[in-house]
Symmetry: C2
DNA sequence: TATGAAAGACACGATTC
DNA sequence: GAATCGTGTCTTTCATA
């Protein structure tokens, strides 16, 4: 993990790329106050040290008819490896399950789900509730996404 | 929002682009079983109807030293517009707050936070708890991200 | 009408000095 | 950092079924 090797110029580059990866290299260089060569070298470096993880296309859930975003909180009695493997093989296999976190606090697992509707969610819910040693399952559905971004804060 | 206008070929294209937007156009056309012209036309259309929302660069939280991912659940007494505006202006302004949802169920707001450490989180927490009419704030921190993807399920 | 092939201008990635 | 070159992409136009 080490220290941050990101300076203010890198930050400008990353800020722009997080927002829009299709920005022309010349425009990006200008934003960063660099020549295109220098800009390119920095991007290469940021890829090499793993800061830049991927370049992806984001889709619109609304346009795809994915009207339901929800968070599911699960409590279990058994926390062993075997249970986790089974959990992943069943629940994690749903493409609607986009995040799974093992968490501190009162909860044990927190999932983010993006699905077409409650019927689609219900299938996942049933899969979860049929797992052994699940003591509690509760959900909070998003009525409105007030903020939602893939842009991470750039420290320092 | 209306019906899906996505066929199986579109799905192949979107699946590939969700995974890696830097895939060469020729390779993408091959995956979809299309010529580059046909592939290009479909992408254009998917952009126009809003299915393709953006092309972004994803960064690695670990590489950036962002070691803390957490979910904060907030309950309030006041649900008016004025409160929401103040909430957004203060809490929503933190770049560490990457998601805000108004939710159903027992909770009122659910936030996702990506921060450097507990000290950075604490600043946000203090801002939240100082808001009027906040009756409850609880957090669950991710000890392990078992699954985390920006890829949405492609229905139908 | 929809799809494939061809061809051009252009910009990007990468190297060299 | 500047200049450069090969490559691939974007886009249009024409041909085809």
């Amino acid at each position: 993990m080490t220290r941050n090797i990101i300076d203010s110029v890198d930050r400008k580059i990353l800020t722009a790329l997080q927002r829009d990866a299709s920005i022309p290299a010349t425009a990006l260089a200008e934003v960063a106050g660099l020549t295109s060569t220098g800009c390119w070298r920095r991007i290469k470096r940021l890829e090499e040290i793993g800061v830049i993880a991927a370049r992806v296309t984001l889709l619109s859930p609304q346009a795809l008819g994915l009207g339901l975003t929800g968070y599911v909180m699960i409590r279990t009695r058994d926390h062993g490896d075997a249970w986790l493997r089974r959990f992943l093989d069943t629940v994690g296999a749903f493409p609607e399950v986009v995040e799974i976190h093992r968490t501190t606090g009162d909860l044990d697992y927190l999932l983010k789900i993006v699905a077409r509707d409650l019927a689609a969610y219900n299938e996942i819910y049933r899969t979860i509730s049929q797992l052994p040693d699940v003591t509690d399952v509760s959900a909070a559905f998003s009525m409105e996404a007030i903020k939602s971004t893939t842009e991470l804060p750039l420290p320092r």
